[in-house]
Amino acid sequence: MTNPATPKTFTLVITGAPYSSQAPQSALHFARAALEQGHSIDRVFLYGDGVHLASSLATPPSDETNWSQVWAEFLEHHGIPGVACIASALRRGLVDEKEQARYELASENLRSPFTIAGLGEWVEGQTRSFRTLYFHAGD
């Protein structure tokens, strides 16, 4: 039996987009609770529509939470890597400077500290973490 008091490591995978699903919000609440209890988060991996969370251009109305910004601040503050799957990201128009140059695109829109990398990052997270939890869209 696992003793919940022992600090454990989580990898969180977010597959639902902000302003479309509740997934990024639920994942953030979970992540905060895990850290407060002394656990650690190895990484946050964005997959499928979840990559939109890493957009630097999301501009919700001023009376709504900017989930991309809040997530970025959380990752930055705690030094947790946030990685968007490169295949999901490129198809959905989320690119960093490197991909911008490679595909000769007019701009980039990846919000720091998110990075773009392959599914190997997800596999590594799963093998290194005690728990890998998924936050999918609810519809």
């Binding site: 895990a34 005690f130 999918h136």
Partner: protein, 93 residues
């Protein structure tokens, strides 16, 4: 602390096909936690097929379900973190 085999995290309404898929795979030693739209199942008469039912308080309250929690145990996020660690495995539906 109750020990159980699999914790099923279910965030879909009972009308979503994955809802019944999830219920169909609940083992006798498994627990179910309803989150997001999943808490709406507590407003229906659907048989949830396990007696170990948790529901996430923030989602229950947001959906105006505070008075309609049937036989579920309300948990907050820290308790949900514990549940994911107590289980031998976790499946997010």
């Amino acid at each position: 602390m109750t020990a159980f085999h699999t914790l099923h995290i279910l965030n879909k309404t009972p009308d979503h096909p994955r809802f019944s898929e999830c219920l169909g795979t609940l083992g006798t030693d498994d627990a179910l936690i309803l989150t997001e739209n999943g808490v709406l199942a507590l407003a229906t008469e659907i048989n949830l097929k396990t007696s170990r039912i948790y529901a996430l308080t923030p989602d229950v309250e947001a959906r105006g379900m505070a008075g309609t929690t049937r036989n579920s145990i309300l948990v907050d996020y820290p308790e949900m973190v514990d549940l994911t660690l107590q289980a031998q495995r976790v499946i997010s539906w």
